[in-house]
Symmetry: C2
Subunit: 504 residues, 2 copies
Amino acid sequence: MADSQPLLSLDGDPVAAEALLQDVFRIVVDEVIRKGTNASEKVCEWKEPEELKQLLDLELRHEGESQEQILERCRAVIRYSVKTCHPRFFNQLFSGLDPHSLAGRIVTESLNTSQYTYEIAPVFVLMEEEVLKKLRALVGWSSGDGVFCPGGSISNMYAVNLARYQRYPDCKQRGLRALPPLALFTSKEADVPPSDQRGCCHYSIKKGAAFLGLGTDSVRMVKADERGKMIPEDLERQISLAKAEGAVPFLVSATSGTTVLGAFDPLEAIADVCQHHGLWLHVDAAWGGSVLLSQTHRHLLAGIQRADSVAWNPHKLLSAGLQCSALLLRDTSNLLKRCHGSQASYLFQQDKFYDVALDTGDKVVQCGRRVDCLKLWLMWKAQGGQGLERRVDQAFALARYLVEELKKREGFELVMEPEFVNVCFWFVPPSLRGRKEDPDYSERLSKVAPILKERMVRKGSMMIGYQPHGTLSNFFRMVVANPALTRADMDFLLNELEWLGQDL
Amino acid sequence: MADSQPLLSLDGDPVAAEALLQDVFRIVVDEVIRKGTNASEKVCEWKEPEELKQLLDLELRHEGESQEQILERCRAVIRYSVKTCHPRFFNQLFSGLDPHSLAGRIVTESLNTSQYTYEIAPVFVLMEEEVLKKLRALVGWSSGDGVFCPGGSISNMYAVNLARYQRYPDCKQRGLRALPPLALFTSKEADVPPSDQRGCCHYSIKKGAAFLGLGTDSVRMVKADERGKMIPEDLERQISLAKAEGAVPFLVSATSGTTVLGAFDPLEAIADVCQHHGLWLHVDAAWGGSVLLSQTHRHLLAGIQRADSVAWNPHKLLSAGLQCSALLLRDTSNLLKRCHGSQASYLFQQDKFYDVALDTGDKVVQCGRRVDCLKLWLMWKAQGGQGLERRVDQAFALARYLVEELKKREGFELVMEPEFVNVCFWFVPPSLRGRKEDPDYSERLSKVAPILKERMVRKGSMMIGYQPHGTLSNFFRMVVANPALTRADMDFLLNELEWLGQDL
């Protein structure tokens, strides 16, 4: 029965709510912000899954628990979680802890609203527009459109869907069966998944093609050169081939910053090909987009202003926090809303007392949409474009430092000179040094990285990813992204690998 | 040049980071947790967009700002944001502030990891599995699969994609052109968008069909009865009609808790039809799924255990925070991974030192995926299934109280007796009372809700949505979801509408 009392939980009791949150916040400060970022603490506390299940006591029961038990649960969750903010976490394309971003995320979570209308998200509707405008300006566009998506893969899908809709608006209503067979193009390099992500990432174009009903066969793989860059001449060849087979080319997805090698496709040359054939140029700059902030390095993306769409994830190199994934469009014809909108405006009231053009909900295929702009806006306000630029430049400089140090040491071999902050290298253990000509060298070398990975994780000293690549045996991919890194952390990486691998 | 010093931002300076976060947290406590939930404060501080832009000074500049300025920005963001936690925010299907959930969200944000591998999210991989298992058990399944998605619309798309893949595994590679024309079915009622969401929500099936390449024409609309429930006999008719037109029916999307009326489709009868025709039964229980927690009310979803997939958003009725959207599957054949996986296991290393079956990244079409399980897990641990059940029961009871009070007052008219916590009603202002037979009654009545909405928002006293529905003029849709609500809030709603509309 409802009476005038709220439930006996903390509902309607802001004093108790505040007390709980104060306690949890203190745990977060102690265990994540202090200990988690402290190089002398472990980056992870490895447990086998069965043991971890026991330790966490995950089962959800009928009875609730005391506040003290809940606090202990928060401590346990943190204890056994990987500290992605730790200065020795080199495993992913995201790392570090930006306090301004985290502040923005805490405010976002406390306000708990959805991005779809000015009515319920007035601040965030205007803020998203402003942030997207700034990102577009860095691409080189003075106008355009865009939206924050739940991750780069969905940004890429949006781009593919927009491109096919622009060419065949009919497909929205009638579906792909009404269309000729379509073809889209991306490089083989973009298709390479890091093993640490179990093949989810740069399969995004193929995964997207399957999800969007095009089928993976519609994705044509363009050759990449030895540095991982798409070869424009091969793109031409693949387009001709697709046409000869009766398919209609409609989109090229170039990559600015591939996942493993950190390669940048030659956008000018690719844009020429797209222009010649009338194809939509999408640039997957999820990883490399943040380089646009650097006057020194933005030449790597020269030509990006000629794209039709760009996917850019500030949650990666800028440490804006998962997720912060912008899809940017050059379009000024309201394509987003026409493509994704319900196109039934006669059904909707236009009788609101404010300009309903501010209601962005119909731009997306989702309904509720998280607020992903505040964290980036707040860190930009605090550090300025200037501070973010220095962060990017510092990552490049530290990666260069690592490369130079690595060259001085026996047992380290670069896969190639990096042009970005992915430093790919082999650690060659003592027993394999000078034995490159041995027939089983490759096979033996390929076993080194997995063993070292296991050792570092069990020890909790650091985390770094590895993968094979084409015909190349397993090598480490070091990612220099955490803005708190120093040269000491680079030295540590090399020393630690030598230490862990001295008996191999 | 990189040297051994971190940047002059707060990077690598946990003491400064902590000080900033302490200050921001204090602002959140004061402005959101205390004032935001206080009924004597405003629910919103309405500003016209141009004025708000000035007040917020949104521009992103080259120079950074001082800590004091950043704190002031946080205050301004909160000041002008709608307080969805306020006891007079009745506008959406989510509201309220659950402190345990918010605690879980703060921990999630501070740990900032992605859900894809056991390696980088050991706690959350196991926890997601456990939470999904619990939700499945409430559906009535002792086994199955599932995943948290970025919103209910994407859960629905996943279901449609899985259903077509199960029937035509070929389509993943070859696309829809290799398939016969497909047909899926949902009720007209499920297709009704609330105007306050600008048509984004329950267009999800149509939007999804367009995005997935099926086209909106593939969605067949089944009639609903006067209470908004799908009519199984009409579903039969529509299936026959689709077949006669040469289409292949493959999926029915039933709704448990429609957005406007809160209607529950008759799942048993629909399941019979699906079984007879061999169709995939998806239940969009984004809104109504949480009723499964209540022994008293779960009969509304009787038959849900016969579904193939269920979309359930605990961020709605359970106040788990945006977003918490589960897609649950009865399947035990690893359909999710087969459908969405890159199917290129030969490319991936199986040389990890733990069971790679724990790496769930390949179950989804996204790459990075937010951790959405901790907030729900923590609130469940704290309150128990018991506490959550009481929360659901209390919402029903308060909705009933509101209905009874509303009947006692002149000028309020129910659209229908609610069976859920959506209470739909007209406020008939003094000048329209007793004039139902006037030819312009409907037209005049339809103008009342927009005027009252504007008045309440400008005053900041409360927020409640309205929309027309079929031939019915604009009516209010009251949503009783915030667990902190009391009878006094229901009385306030009625009094306030009378006050705001006394001169109409």
